[in-house]
Symmetry: C2
Subunit: 194 residues, 2 copies
């Protein structure tokens, strides 16, 4: 089964955005070193992206109706009536059932075979959960998130949108990898323990 | 001037304790590798410890009136009437003024000279801010915290006592060092930018 990975930038004190959903205060977003890594990771790891309404509307407010044009895109909302873009699928109910089924669908094959002949069989691409926190909480409580990948930015917000607000119970993690960027961002990759 | 360092364990999502101030869910607290490092750091870096009432009372509730017997100890509270221990100093008002003055006092010398002759002059020991978040917020907003040292534990709480609740404005940090422990704890050391 494909993995669902919650992959977001965060302030050191656990916020993935300011109260208004802006993320301008994350230096990670401005560093070429970081952006290169992030785009490579997106292109090689995922073929599908999930996001909550707040995360989607942050792009929509600046005119972006299809933020990830190379991915199958699903926006979860009870209040939106229809999708503003034919490529963007709106899921209005049964979030958990929908994502559980989505994980069983075969992912696209990675194109690593262009680089490494031994990898010609490819690996199924995974599902990228881009935010927000409420959607992540629902999916984590339902046992559907496999990895949590956090870009810890060197900043304290003190308030904002939490990583996983109102989680029903604590979730134990296993540290898989770390990477330190020159701009002070620390990438932490965890598996969610079952 | 001596440094004030906010040095705490935290869940990945930014909580330094559960709602009841307990910290039992931090695996860091159970790992010999980690405890050794932590005790060495305490002994070599600090001679003074500051804490809020909630943090102090968590120990008090299990009968510990003097949690750091080798340090000068200050507890900040408006509601406590007197200190339960003659070694523990209660500060009831003007937190900011008190800490500002405390930082100007000379710290004890480190005893590194026993190990390295060139360090015979020693270095002044710093001030350890052990929690909680409200005291840290007050002191950070007043520009008095020099470093933030976080032991990121591989766990998501979803709620609890925040690292710096209700900060007046965001605080930019500079990453100074990182260390990864075998138990999945990641130590992140930052300087607070002025």
């Amino acid at each position: 089964m494909r993995k669902l990975k919650y992959h977001v930038a965060m302030s050191l004190d656990g916020f993935i955005a300011r109260e208004d959903d802006s993320v301008d205060d994350f230096p990670a977003n401005l560093s070429p070193e970081h952006v290169t890594d992030y785009l490579y990771s997106l292109a090689s790891e995922y073929d599908t992206v999930l996001m909550g309404r707040g995360t989607y509307e942050f792009g929509l407010n600046v005119g972006v109706t299809d933020p990830y044009p190379s991915f199958e895109t699903y926006v979860f909302s009870r209040s939106l009536q229809e999708s503003p873009d034919p490529r963007v699928h709106l899921v209005r109910e049964d979030v958990v059932g929908f994502v559980r089924e989505l994980k069983t669908r075969p992912g696209k094959q990675t194109d690593m075979s262009r680089v490494i002949r031994a990898a010609q069989m490819g690996l199924p691409k995974d599902i990228y959960l881009a935010g927000g926190g409420l959607l992540a909480t629902t999916l984590l409580d339902a046992g559907l998130i496999d990895e949590v990948i956090i870009k810890v930015n060197p900043v304290l917000f003190g308030s904002g949108k939490a990583l996983v607000p109102r989680l029903a119970r604590k979730a134990d993690l296993e540290l898989l990898s770390t990477k330190v960027y020159r701009n002070g961002v620390v990438l932490l990759q965890y598996a969610v323990k079952r």
